[in-house]
């Protein structure tokens, strides 16, 4: 009876595991073994180099710099983007007029093509004819005027903010779904007990939203660390290496210099880093949940 029940349980995951094995595990094994080869992606012959690719990655300063830069963008996304998403979701969860309108509008940036986002933001941020500089001058801050995307001091932060703007819609949506699962009765009860809005936010909303926040956090880390389309559209990874991110480096190895094996090794290294970061985040959130 027990065996039958266990087999039954396996049936639930079987379809997922079959698809996953064929379309993920097999390509993964292929990529994994290529990480130990020198291969240009075309020739039928490959050269075994052992750990050579990984040793080269360890010494590749630009690669590590690109990881730090992706980390910086992620940090901004985790704080700025998610705070924005949460606040907006919280505001839209309240009894407020036009909330259906807002719910629709906030989902526009994720739907828009990167081409449009890139063009519009380039136009806003352009150093010579840009709208932002124009406004800064007319508002009386001419000393702030700069070339936002090609000034090495501001390029990365600017890219991070545009990225956050493009991505907050997802966090908004998931937070909203999470807030909706909090029964209204709890708020009612708190109000009867004399709690004000802030107290009920702190006592009810926040603790119940922690698992959702963890989820959004991990999705943000993964989404942001792997983002590149918008960066290509805005700066192409420049000026110099100031907005390079790991995925751009992997693409550069694969397409630019035709070093397929090295690109695979970079992908694996990057994946390991992401797994570690997500695991740490998961552990922290678990502890946070135990304390509350």
């Amino acid at each position: 009876m027990k065996v039958k029940s266990t087999l039954e349980n396996y049936l639930f995951v079987l379809p997922a595991v079959i698809i996953f094995t064929i379309f993920y595990i097999i390509p993964f094994i292929w990529v994994f073994q290529l990480a130990f080869y020198d291969w240009d992606g075309i020739m039928p012959t490959k050269f075994f180099v052992g750990l050579g690719n990984f040793i080269e990655i360890l010494q590749d300063k630009i690669w590590w710099r690109s990881i730090w830069q992706a980390g910086y963008i992620t940090l901004i996304a985790l704080t700025f983007q998610n705070a924005l998403a949460f606040l907006l979701a919280w505001a839209c969860d309240r009894q407020i007029r036009m909330k259906n309108f807002y719910r629709l509008i906030f989902f526009i940036p994720p739907v828009l093509s990167e081409v449009v986002v890139g063009l519009v933001w380039q136009w806003i941020l352009d150093g010579n004819y840009g709208l932002l500089n124009h406004w800064l001058v007319s508002l009386g801050f001419p000393h702030l005027v700069r070339n936002w995307l090609s000034d090495p001091k501001t390029a990365l932060t600017t890219v991070a903010i545009v990225h956050s703007w493009k991505g907050f819609g997802w966090g908004f949506l998931i937070f909203l779904a999470g807030l909706q699962t909090i029964p209204r009765e709890l708020y009612e009860a708190a109000r009867v007990d004399g709690a004000n809005a802030w107290e009920s936010f702190r006592r009810i909303t926040l603790p119940l939203m922690i698992p959702v926040a963890v989820l959004v956090g991990i999705l943000t880390i993964l989404g942001t660390m792997q983002a590149f389309v918008l960066i290509i559209a805005m700066t192409g990874g420049g000026p110099a290496y100031h907005t390079q991110v790991p995925v751009l480096r992997i693409l550069a190895s694969m397409r630019g210099s035709s070093r397929f094996g090295y690109a695979c090794a970079q992908g694996i290294t990057f994946g390991i880093i992401l797994v570690i970061v997500s695991f740490i985040q998961y552990r922290f959130s678990k502890r946070a949940r135990q304390y509350q």
Partner: protein, 282 residues
């Protein structure tokens, strides 16, 4: 002594600030959309010269041209078909797995779950080459089925993760009641768990629909026949290596954005109404 008027003014001021905040974010969101629509009505000559939101001449024929020159008709239907199939596939496969990971016990459970999570994190560069060879061997290359299965796999891990988080959060009481009444595990999944998970299912639908709708690289690689290509590939013909036909591109992008916005409009009802029907968060 605080009067009713005090509370009323306080509430109005707070609401005013909230509206100001919401509106200012909303403006930045609408701006690119308006620009896209306005640009789609201009010509290649005026698109970057006349930056105003209201074009002097309205070139509605851009939409007609984009539709015809891009060969949108067939590709549009293809994209609809791929998106629906992939989303339905993911909903079934991922929710089954997520439910098992959340509620059922079986040996190796954690290993399997860790595997899916790792897959979400480890990018595999150049996976298109083994996929191509694999699909070719399975005789699935250049078929809709091969593409749909690949895309189901792409969305699987994240969807399982999303669904499992919400299943974990959901109350077990209803399921226990159902079990006592003699409902099978699968019955509980279908009749209890899924209806309760509507808000997150709606998120999964929107997330995957957008993903599949916007995908073109894999489609371009594994399809040879133009009749199988999705909409995004048709759209790429306006963005050539050397020449980009901006107004047609913008018209095409506007056409492509519409279905996703409709899906979202439809789904957000579930996200918002969803679970409030008597569920208790435990």
């Amino acid at each position: 002594m605080k009067t009713g008027l005090y509370y009323k003014t306080k509430r109005i001021t707070i609401n005013l600030f909230i509206h100001l905040f919401l509106l200012s974010v909303a403006v930045t969101c609408i701006f690119p959309l308006l620009w896209m629509v306005a640009s789609s009505l201009k010509t290649q000559e005026t698109i970057f010269r006349d930056m105003s939101f209201i074009p002097k001449e309205w070139h509605f024929e851009n939409y007609y041209r984009a539709w015809r020159e891009g060969g949108f008709g067939r590709n549009f239907l293809n994209s609809l078909f791929y998106t629906t199939s992939v989303v339905i596939g993911i909903i079934i496969v991922a929710s089954l797995a997520a439910y098992a990971f959340s509620r059922l016990r079986f040996p190796g459970q954690n290993v399997f779950f860790a595997m899916f999570m790792a897959a979400m994190m480890i990018p595999i560069p150049g996976s298109f080459v083994p996929l191509y060879v694999l699909l070719n061997k399975l005789h699935l290359r250049n078929t809709a089925l091969g593409y749909i299965l690949c895309m189901i796999n792409v969305g699987l891990s994240t969807s399982i993760f999303l669904l499992k988080t919400f299943f974990d959060k959901m109350p077990k009481e209803l399921e226990d009641a159902a079990r006592i009444d003699g409902c099978s595990k699968l019955g509980i999944w279908w009749h209890v768990a899924l209806p309760l998970a509507k808000p997150v299912l709606a998120v999964v639908v929107v997330f995957n629909a957008l993903n599949v709708w916007n995908e073109y690289v894999l489609a371009l690689i594994i399809f040879d026949a133009k009749p199988l290509m999705p909409l995004q590939v048709a759209l790429m013909t306006f963005q050539g290596e050397f020449i980009t036909q901006y107004p047609l591109l913008m018209a095409g992008l506007t056409i492509t954005a519409l279905p996703i916005i409709i899906v979202y409009l439809f789904m957000q009802r579930y996200i918002v109404k969803g679970v409030t029907q008597g569920a208790i968060v435990g």
